[in-house]
């Protein structure tokens, strides 16, 4: 079967997984007392008030049997209503939409760096096995995997912010924030400061945003690149042992071409699947990094929600990230089928 049929089948499989995810979150919500769960259903804070809360409970059906509750909630989630966030004082869906661009901005810059740097170093490490380069790369990857994300962040802040003053926490400098949020000339087309700066002709905003991305990017890359390096290295070593490598060389191809064309694509196959998991790992790291650098993104808000026991906020965030994760796995699977034609038969 071709790639197209595979993609369609894979898309259909997404639906039950998403359903299951909603079910899981619903199950977790049952761990909370009824009064806390009210926030999941409504977006008008007036209805929380102690005077009316009993009536609200009845109105949203929280006194109905469990499966009815689930059905109601499922319906409303599909309609985009995730409840009310106490910490943000806004509906959850609005809050997520509000904070998402900041997080997206970090991911857009960080993910490619991690992936390409990881692949390059992994291949290098495998080809130059047991040389100083190999040892250096493996050291980087294992150190990165052992560093606490928050600690690295604090360390970098202490050095580059407090001691040297080169970079600051936050998403933009004070002038930048002032300009972006109060100036009538600045239109937020995308919510991404780097892009909006360009679109508005205010290059200094773009540069300002980039400067503030440097430290978070460094933290996330250092921690994340190690996994890719290790996997790429081991799958490269395996690929280099295969018969088609000798055949390629016996055809007269240069070593470099054999490595890059023949070995690497085969080695990428297991790496691509891990890349999908890496996206999940990034969310974990993002929560911490955004908090340390006060970046104002989804991760930072979710931590605040957790600390303040904002049930709707935490669960809404979990659902949203779960959804993102399922989508990214879908993309990874399709990429996998593109690279490895043997999979499409399945």
């Amino acid at each position: 079967m071709g790639l197209r049929a595979f993609v369609i089948r894979r898309l259909l499989l997404v639906i039950p997984t998403l359903l299951g995810a909603v079910l899981l979150i619903f199950a977790v919500s049952q761990l909370f007392p009824v009064k806390s769960r009210v926030a999941l259903y409504i977006t008008n804070p007036q209805r929380f008030k102690p005077e009316v809360i009993e009536r609200t409970i009845h109105e949203v059906g929280l006194d109905a049997p469990v499966y009815v509750q689930f059905f109601n909630w499922l319906q409303q989630v599909l309609g985009g209503n995730l409840g009310w966030s106490e910490t943000a004082q806004l509906p959850v869906s609005t809050t997520i939409a509000h904070y998402f661009p900041a997080t997206l901005e970090i991911v857009i810059f960080t993910a490619p760096v991690i992936i390409f740097l990881g692949i390059y170093l992994g291949v290098l490490s495998a080809v130059r096995r047991d040389t100083p380069i190999d040892h250096a790369t493996r050291s980087i990857s294992i150190i990165g995997a052992s560093l606490p994300t928050f600690w690295l962040g604090i360390l970098l802040l202490a050095i580059f912010f407090v001691a040297l003053g080169w970079f600051q926490p936050g998403r933009l400098s004070a002038e930048g924030i002032n300009f972006v949020y109060t100036s009538p000339n600045f239109i937020k087309y995308t919510g991404l400061m780097t892009v909006d700066g360009l679109l508005n002709g205010q290059l200094w905003i773009t540069i300002d945003a980039l400067r503030h991305l440097v430290l978070p990017l460094t933290v996330l890359t250092t921690i994340g690149v190690g996994g890719i390096i290790r996997l790429m290295r081991s799958s490269m070593l395996e690929a280099l042992n295969k018969g088609y490598i000798v055949t390629a060389r016996a055809k007269g191809l240069a070593k470099k071409e054999v490595i890059n064309k023949h070995a690497r694509r085969n080695a990428l196959i297991p790496t691509v699947t891990v890349a999908g998991l890496m996206v999940a790992g990034m969310m974990n790291g993002l929560m911490i990094t955004e908090t340390v650098f006060a970046f104002g993104g989804l991760g930072q808000w979710s931590v605040r929600a957790a600390v303040n026991l904002d049930v709707a906020g935490v669960l809404g965030f979990a659902l949203f990230t779960g959804f993102l994760f399922v989508i990214s796995n879908l993309i990874v699977d399709i990429l996998y089928a593109y690279i490895d034609p043997r999979i499409r038969l399945d």
């Binding site: 997984t17 079910l23 899981l24 604090i154 407090v162 974990n284 979990a318 990230t321 779960g322």
Partner: protein, 307 residues
């Protein structure tokens, strides 16, 4: 020489060959020593402590700031406090020593319980196959559809903030991974020729499972477990750091760093001892286990063993 002895000697030789695995082992042993000797290295209830707790895991603290600042301000290392004090004057040295026990508790407990549940579920699913396996796969799929920290966070919020609940949450988030690993390995080993041969000779199902399948399927799990301990400690430290784990004053490395955040940049100072020292402990602890896990993987994986 019997093959198993020869193989064991080869294992040791390989371990000696790799300096990193020796480093890893030394680090782990170092921390084991600290954990065992904790009551000796940092006796609970020292003389300068004003507040003494019955729980040895609560860090002692003096009533005034030894270096003369306010009571909340951390003070740098000095005679009574070799590592200095954190916010509210908690003694960092004490926290490091007893925090080692906490770290082991987190790493080992979560890993073992997670592995035990995963083993049980995975074996059942792989053994019975069919509908049971399908249900199992769907269930773990759903849990694995969420990034770990987020789901753990949701559980902690639901259960209440405490270190024990963090451990529980990590187990709930961790067992599906182990279960899938063991299930995958069992299915793979089931296909191998030697299992078929054993059945052909007349071995009972149980014997096949325990004598042939499990010993070969369990290697990746052991490797993953050792590698996982390091990551587990990092995750727990992160949760404590974010304020979702151990309470203030508890001897937990992540928790101590949490309060250090408030003091970075205050009056142009960073109070490095409040985050450098606990951070180094977390880092090296995790590093030791990771190196050891790597060494195990290099040694035990039969396809990579021989040059």
């Amino acid at each position: 020489m019997a093959p198993s002895i020869k193989e064991f000697k080869f294992m040791l030789h390989r371990m000696k060959q790799s300096p990193l695995s020796i480093v890893g082992l030394s680090i782990v042993l170092f921390y084991v020593a600290i954990a065992v000797l904790a009551p000796v290295l940092a006796p609970p209830g020292p003389s300068w402590a004003f507040v003494r707790y019955t729980d040895p895991f609560m860090m002692p603290r003096p009533i005034t700031n030894p270096s003369g600042g306010t009571v909340t301000e951390p003070s740098p290392p000095g005679p009574d406090h070799p590592f200095g004090t954190a916010e509210f004057q908690y003694d960092i040295y004490y926290g490091m020593i007893w925090g080692t026990i906490t770290a082991f508790r987190v790493g080992l407990w979560v890993t073992f319980v997670s592995m035990a549940i995963g083993l049980a579920v995975g074996i059942v699913a792989a053994y019975y196959g069919g509908i049971i396996d399908e249900i199992f796969m769907r269930f773990t799929d759903i849990i694995l559809a969420f990034p770990g920290l987020i789901l753990a966070m949701a559980f902690v919020v639901a259960f209440g903030r405490s270190l024990d609940n963090v451990l529980l949450a990590l187990v709930l988030v961790g067992w599906p991974g182990d279960a899938r690993l063991i299930r995958g390995e069992i299915l793979r080993v089931k296909q191998e020729d030697y299992v078929e041969a054993a059945k052909a000779v007349g071995c009972s199902d149980l014997r096949v499972m325990f004598r042939h399948v499990l010993p070969n399927a369990i290697y990746p799990m052991v490797i993953s477990a050792t590698l996982g301990i390091g990551g587990m400690v990092l995750t727990a430290a992160a949760l404590s750091f974010l304020g979702l784990g151990a309470p203030v004053g508890y001897a937990d490395w992540g928790q101590i760093i949490s309060s250090s955040q408030n003091w970075i940049g205050v009056r142009g100072r960073t109070y490095p001892h409040t985050f450098l020292i606990p951070g180094v402990f977390i880092f090296t602890f995790s590093l030791g286990w990771n190196l050891l896990g790597d060494a195990f993987r290099d040694i035990m994986d039969p396809t990579i063993r021989r040059r």
